[in-house]
Homo-oligomer: 303 residues x 5
């Protein structure tokens, strides 16, 4: 998540220089094509620029809208994960009684369950970002970890451990059946949030939209340079590139939101969110050793 | 679901060559119509191209937006089926006790119910894709299969078997009434997902929108060629075809998302999703014989 | 619901011939107005066509979007009625025990309740379409029918009978309180679907949007003919009519979706949906005498 | 809610004559400004009309879309109030047993609670429309009325009385705890609908959008008249006014939906909806003295 | 929340004078650049203004739509906080019995819980607005305050205190388990509303959209002045500034809604909403000392 309001032009050019060079080269080539071949045969009517502009406007607008929707839905899902992690912890802390457990057993169990909730969010984060740091492992007991390794979907396996402990709490009368239902509703909700995150990560945005947007932008730059060459001569190279740059950057803006769980500066700041949850849960548990909030990178963005 | 970012132009031309040829033929015919008849009578004002462009932009945009909504809603429904299948399995596995059943009876029942859940998703998939592989049958016991054959809606009949077993579990005190409610809520949710999938498959998108989009694109190509013929002569055939191609392809993009459950490269990858559920459920059940994930076809798309 | 992809032009002209004739007459009148009066005084600038085009595009687009939303919401509500009818039947069939009833009494009660659910959907359909076939009556017992006649809202009265039987089942211990809650939740859901259907049927889309769309289309046709008359003479009549036809047809498309419960070819196919529910419920009940699915009319549409 | 499809032009002119006169005056003044001053200095390029047109299109479209959303959300909320009033009444009627009450006490209590529900909808209506007819008072007992007067939010106070009676029913064992939960869920839902209605009524749509729309329409009329004066002379006054009228009326259309609870012809017909609920509830209660449905005013609209 | 319909131009100029001056300076500089350099070399085609206009229209429209969505979602969340605060208070007041508590203990506990709910909304408000008035502290008992200070997230800590009291009420049999579930559902709902508010406050709108909008507006002003200079000479400075002003103000409108929880005149009026809740809750509790509603500032806006 970018937080800096002033993107330096340098930064933008640095991330687009390849395309910029290709575009300038295309404009120059088109200009000479026009000078030596096209202008002798026909004069392209300016209407074509407008027509192509309409098609591009549709594609770019459509892509950006859908990309933003994906990004915001992703953010909303992780907001719900924050909420349900807090509710889960609150319920575990305050709605359990010893029942047939000793007070110490209950305290240990509570801590194990809440630590495991932290493990859940980190495991889900790593799965969504396809990295394998294994940071989540420190929040799991050894037996838990062993159990989790048996399944390919780590986060899902962690929720199963929650379910096993919940059944245990219920059978030890540490919670009554009413509380059992409340707790289990939260496990179902976490299952849903996990599945929704996976849906967004695994569903590729229809590639034809992206492909044709790029194709049309290049066609547009060529047509525009041809049309401008009649009116402003060599300046058509500069103006063609500027307009092409604008449309390309607009398109890139949307692309940066399309896969919100990727570890990129415009993605959802999962590191920051996970740490917020970690801090909240540890404070609720009364732990002393609280990690600091995540800091923005270069004062520019959170990851 | 297409996964390749680079659609080769060859691939696109291969899937549109019929329309391409018809369009080129139309442009050529229009050009000669212009040369020998129209140009002697009147000169079509360029405004008409813009006006028709507006009408087409509306239709194409509208179709694409609604098609994408249907596609994404379909994907979301199947995401929910993933989630509820996992929750269902987790509940069956961890929230049942023997009660009046022997431990072996319970274990057999659990396995039968979870296998039946796999049968449910495959039966629903086959019904949505109107094919009759019968892959789902292997996950049903013989008595179950017999029962299911009595109804025309297979997936719905499978859910009824879930309900019968649930009532049995409840009467054998393998689950208490609180758990009964939780389990039954999942059956209701699966009924809803099934009905929503059927709604999308059975509801034809208002055909008039698609019909008029096609009509207007052809009218537009003819008008445009007429108008261009004055300005660029024979090149009007080439340019008319290019612009027509762009609008046609844009329209086709949307059409490819309109029926998301069809077995096409741009549809929802039900094979892949069903396999993911199958793997998850078998792993949760502790089965050893786990099938591999579905592989993309030609590295291009999932079905 | 139209299912044919090829609307014959004949069919379209048949449903719009009145407007077509009025439009041709208007174009002719405008042309002569231009020839003998306007052209001697002033020349209308072409900009006005564009400006009016913008206003019309807004109105037509707005109407079509809202109409489609109403249509899709209506379809979604009836999809939910399908789902909840199935869940209701499944619950009635499998979650009841004799309790203090004899097995025969329970069987009779089950059948009465499920038949009444079929009566509910047909009664709601007739109320939404404002017709009074009374097809639903055959699914009600005599005492039920008598009771229902006392209220002006038939479908609502049927749900009250459901509630009375539910309370009876509960007091006869045929269902426990947990199941009671599950069943009653479905009655509440059916109440909601009924109310939502009535909301869409009873809420007139703001008429000013429709009125001004029509007004602007006519104003546009007149202005356009005036402007074209300068450029193409008598052909302005033909082209004016074509463009007017396009905008009018686009507007009509939306109008056909605006009242989705009307008994029209573009409406929601309530006959088909009700029959689907009827078949599903009778099959679940194990009835032998199952009616066939509804057939499309002229292979063109479902009602 | 307007129901007439044909808004007479007279009616529209009557409601806009002030603005119409101001606009004609502005066009005349602009024309003479052009004739004697502007035309001697410069010629305004027509591009400016298009640019301002774009800005206005954005504002008018944005306002209309948001206004319609507010209107439809308001209608949906009141549809939910209809549904929940019916469910509430159905539950009260059929799910209560005497318990420790006599049959007469229960009957009286039922009637009091259902009448109070009618009072709730009328009290909410009066609060939303900021009028103080006090029609709701006839549906409250004296002690209820006394209690209600203690709070500034009448409808909220009525719901508290519902809650008190519900607790009483529960303690007299007229309902068990399961039914208590079902009833209370409906009270919470009514609290939500009430709060949502208040949210729409109390949240002023960002005034800057409305202010700038008006400002830009006037600027547009002036620029347009200036530009047209070059082309069509004095006719610029007529055409300037027509175009200005169109944009103004389009804007007014949206404004008429912006505050859907106001007692205006384009608002939500709360009188009609409240009466529908009143009739439904009284019929369910078996009352004989049923008021007639609300009639449209002048056959034109419901209030 | 602005309530005044007439924003004086003075007010607008006061809040934009810096940008206005920079824009006038830019227009003047551009004009002289044109006079002495550009006009000798080339003539910029007017098409470029339209093309840039399209790009800006997309950006401005996109930003405004998303900003309004954020604003309305924020308002909706706080509407839900109003509703759930009322439901919470109603439940606490009417659904508790003494159980093992004395009547006085129960009364004191009720008051403490309802006051704490008021503390919750004020604490959440202060956290969202990043100010530290500490107004909420007066509604907390000393022991509560001590507990709350241990966590960095004050509002979350207050909800934990609610949970502790709820468990106490349940163990003292002041509420039964059914009511416990109803109460706890409200705590979960408040947790969700809190988390949703934080999501909107903490998620920076993708800065690239805002950055490029500003960049394109300036580019547009320069191009437009260059193009106008050919047609109207020095007047290009005035018109360039007017058009630039319009686009800039349109953009600013959206920006004013982007961070709806900031303490600005266009934000959500948290002060007013919190006070409304405070009044409602105190009246329900029967307190005598009720604070007056918040008054608008300068009759112009609520904070």
């Amino acid at each position: 998540m970018l937080i800096t309001q002033n993107l330096s032009l340098v930064r933008i050019l640095r991330s687009t220089w390849k395309v910029d060079l290709m575009m300038i080269f295309t404009c120059v080539a088109t200009y000479y094509l026009h000078e030596y071949i096209v202008s002798r045969a026909i004069q392209i009517p300016a209407t074509l620029a407008t027509l192509l502009g309409t098609a591009i406007a549709f594609f770019v607008g459509f892509n950006n809208n859908q990309a933003y929707s994906r990004w915001w839905e992703a953010r909303t899902i992780w907001g719900a994960i924050v909420n349900d992690s807090r509710s889960w912890t609150r319920n575990i802390l305050y709605y359990t009684v010893p029942g047939e457990l000793t007070i110490d057993e209950l305290a240990a169990l509570k801590k194990r369950i809440i630590f495991r909730q932290i493990a859940f969010i980190y495991a889900l984060k790593e799965s969504l970002r396809r990295n394998a740091e294994g940071y989540y492992k420190q929040f799991l007991s050894e037996t838990d970890l062993e159990q989790v390794n048996k399944e390919s979907n780590t986060a899902n396996a962690i929720l199963s451990l929650h379910a096993i402990d919940l059944q245990q709490l219920s059978q030890a009368h540490a919670i009554d059946e009413f509380r059992f239902v409340q707790f289990n509703t939260l496990i179902s909700a976490l299952t849903d949030h996990m599945g929704r995150s996976e849906r967004i990560r695994n569903t590729v945005f229809p590639t034809s939209y992206i492909y044709f947007t790029r194709l049309f932008i290049w066609a547009f730059v060529i047509f525009l340079t041809l049309i401008l060459a009649d009116a402003v001569g060599g300046w058509s190279i500069v103006i063609g590139w500027i307009i092409g740059f604008i449309f390309h950057v607009t398109h890139q803006n949307g692309m940066g939101l399309m896969d919100p769980f990727d570890e990129i500066s415009t993605g959802i700041p999962l590191n920051q969110i996970c740490r917020t949850i970690e801090i909240n849960l540890l404070q609720m548990l009364g732990e002393k050793d609280i990690p600091p909030p995540v800091q923005p990178i270069n004062q520019e963005y959170y990851l």
